[in-house]
Symmetry: C2
Subunit: 219 residues, 2 copies
Amino acid sequence: MPEREVRISRAMLARLPFYYRTLAARARAGNTKISSAQLAASLSMDSAQVRRDLSSIGEFGRPGIGYNVPELLEALEEMLGLRNRTEAVLVGVGRLGAALFGYPGFEAYGLRIVSLFDSDPERIGAELDGALIRSVSEIPHVVRRLSIQMGIITTPPTSAQEIADMLVEAGVIAIWNFAPVSLSVPPGVMVRDEDLAAGLSYLSRHLTGTMHAARPEQE
Amino acid sequence: MPEREVRISRAMLARLPFYYRTLAARARAGNTKISSAQLAASLSMDSAQVRRDLSSIGEFGRPGIGYNVPELLEALEEMLGLRNRTEAVLVGVGRLGAALFGYPGFEAYGLRIVSLFDSDPERIGAELDGALIRSVSEIPHVVRRLSIQMGIITTPPTSAQEIADMLVEAGVIAIWNFAPVSLSVPPGVMVRDEDLAAGLSYLSRHLTGTMHAARPEQE
DNA sequence: TAGATTGTTAATCGATTAACAATC
DNA sequence: TAGATTGTTAATCGATTAACAATC
């Protein structure tokens, strides 16, 4: 059979996890069908956009009926790469790093953090939930030996670039960066910046704007 | 003087924190000037876009010279609402909630988490970094009395909507939602979804893709 | 059959990039 | 003055929305 040409725009890729969420909840509720209009409604979006997005990942809908939830869910899992087991190392076991390491939600997404690193002598050698915290100097050795492809950076911004370089040098090709700094990496390596401050300023702006505008409670 | 009409697109608003980051680093390094080309280079973007974005928030550049770093930084702070002190409450003191509460980065952005809530009897009454963890039943009272405008939700997805309703009812108009579920709120209330899973699938997809493509190390 | 709903084409809207006159 | 660099206009590109024939 011919390979289906799948064009996923950046904007659409950002929407897929939301479809996934909603469909997973539907599936748990025992529903097997959902229409683009229903899906759109629960995500406050346009039904035409839902149909367009879903049609571009395959043909899972039937006119007059709607979409088959389990089928669509499976396709989305495939599409989002949730089927793959991904092993990652985490560098910087501060509060945020510890929170991510213990976050139960990742398991469902196939992510397993297999090794922890820090540069603070106080932390090196200690354990977190039974996992040993290693010195960053061991990164090259461990990453190479376990063929790790993903690195999670939760260090202070000042050392993030240095850590990124070490990870890439050792074979990592995907970096999830929580440090508030822009990393430069060679082509072929993908960086995802998780910018908490960006989310915050988005909301702050709303608060400021609202203060000058009409009070919201008197609709 | 006439009010300057400021049109900020959604996409541009998402870029502003990155400009801010870069300029703040420049300012710390003692630089007072920066060109659109330099700024673009450190963020791997197009210089035309930088100029377009910056020109739409004001006239801080001088042809032949570049932009005045301190001036621009100040304008961005204003624009991003970083000047405003924002007080927030946090609901759900699990690992993620605790990490956010202790995150030192927020202080610089004007955010202060003034109260913690949880529904787990084991946690209620306990302290985190000297702050008392209150029962969620106290949300209406506390939020109203302190006139809190922002709520941070780090509860499990099942209770997130219920908490959102309580917060909104008590007067909150901005919700920072870390629970992996879509919240429905009345108009006038803004929700920012921080979707960790989305970032993860973005990277996972790259890993899968790469396995089928050419090995990246042999550029 | 009649009603519902998809997948897709065409129309609209918005965002990015290129080019350049104006300015330092 | 000559070289550098902005702010903005015009051209391109991409994404969203509307509309509807095809299908169940």
